[in-house]
Chain length 214, copies 2
């Protein structure tokens, strides 16, 4: 397809597509003559992923480029490729290691992972930005005087593990490795708001079921 | 306790506490003489809640006031009091009803709730801001060509229902009605980032378990 059709089908203006091409977010089309290039379905898919990150996920352009670099890096083993792409998304800043609430939260969350018996726990606690997010959130609760024990979180973590299994099954329904990595990124950007909305609706349902018009 | 102690124990500066008092976010202390007021544990708890909303949840001050109004409104039935407090938190704007993806997503998400058989579904689809968030997220996925059928989301929704049951049990472990409503608000502001972090960690674990160093 030509640039005009790519623009129409993706809902991204031709000026913006040209900008993405210049920034290297999108690979160039196949040059037909000096003024015309031909684009394919893969360009369209990639453009939609870029738009999801920028418009829905508010991910900066430089970060999108980094994420896509990991998505396309077929030298990495699959788990690392998925992880690298998601890790490159904007994350919470490193918490203040001198803060007593952060220290307490870190110890408690390390204990949580040990209790869960997750094989990957050692790597998570040392490098995963998601573990850092967990520590930041737990520290905020502790600072407010809500000193949740790791045991309180165990049933939550087990349910999230079941959610992750659903994610992986959905991802595996896609064929190519690049598509699998794309789904992992989309999941982080688009599925999380959906899960959050489902969680709040479930709370409304459960609250009404329990309390009705008490 | 005096203002200085309230400030020290809450980690909120005296100037900020005075600002919250002026704005009516915090009820005045018991006046001992013309220059001194006495504060109690309830002030401290409330101050921590305000701080959670403003600093962690980035909730605007006017919205905090509205949320607290619902938390304190003991004329409402419990389920409505909890709902009103959470609904008053910042929500996604109303989606464009003329957008074909929004229309398709709304139909699909209404079908999802019918499939789940949630008793409260009718009220949710007409007024809940969480249903609106769900439609916005589903429309974003559809626009990207990911046309998830409602059936795909059913197992996710059932797991979120189990999460909501854990939330309610935790909430019920608190005694007063005001504290229960506070926990509902804190849940929305502080527990959601925690669930999100647990979800991503579970993905890492599941991804490593499945693919290792493939």
């Amino acid at each position: 397809m030509r640039l005009a059709e790519l623009s129409e089908r993706s809902g991204v203006s031709t000026a913006t597509i040209k900008y993405y091409l210049r920034e290297g977010l999108l690979t160039p089309g196949r040059q037909i003559n000096t003024t015309t290039a031909e684009y394919d379905e893969e360009h369209l898919r990639r453009l939609r992923l870029i738009r999801a990150m920028i418009q829905v996920g508010r991910v900066p352009v430089a970060t999108v480029k980094e994420v896509l670099g990991h998505v396309d890096d077929d030298s990495l083993p699959r788990a690392m490729r998925l992880g690298a792409a998601v890790w490159a998304l904007p994350q919470v800043p490193e918490p203040d290691a001198d803060d007593e609430f952060v220290q307490g939260a870190r110890v408690a969350m390390e204990e949580l992972l040990r209790t869960l018996g997750w094989a990957n726990a050692q790597a998570m606690t040392s490098v995963s930005p998601s573990f850092r997010s967990l520590v930041v959130a737990a520290a905020a609760l502790r600072r407010l005087g809500y000193d949740w024990s790791p045991e309180t979180l165990v049933p939550y973590a087990r349910l999230m593990r079941q959610v992750a299994e659903l994610d992986m099954e959905f991802m595996e329904s896609h064929v190519s490795e690049a598509e699998k990595a794309e789904v992992a990124v989309l999941g982080a950007v688009l599925v999380e708001p959906m899960l959050q909305a489902l969680h709040r609706l479930a709370q409304e349902e459960e609250s009404t079921r329990r309390y009705g018009f008490e």
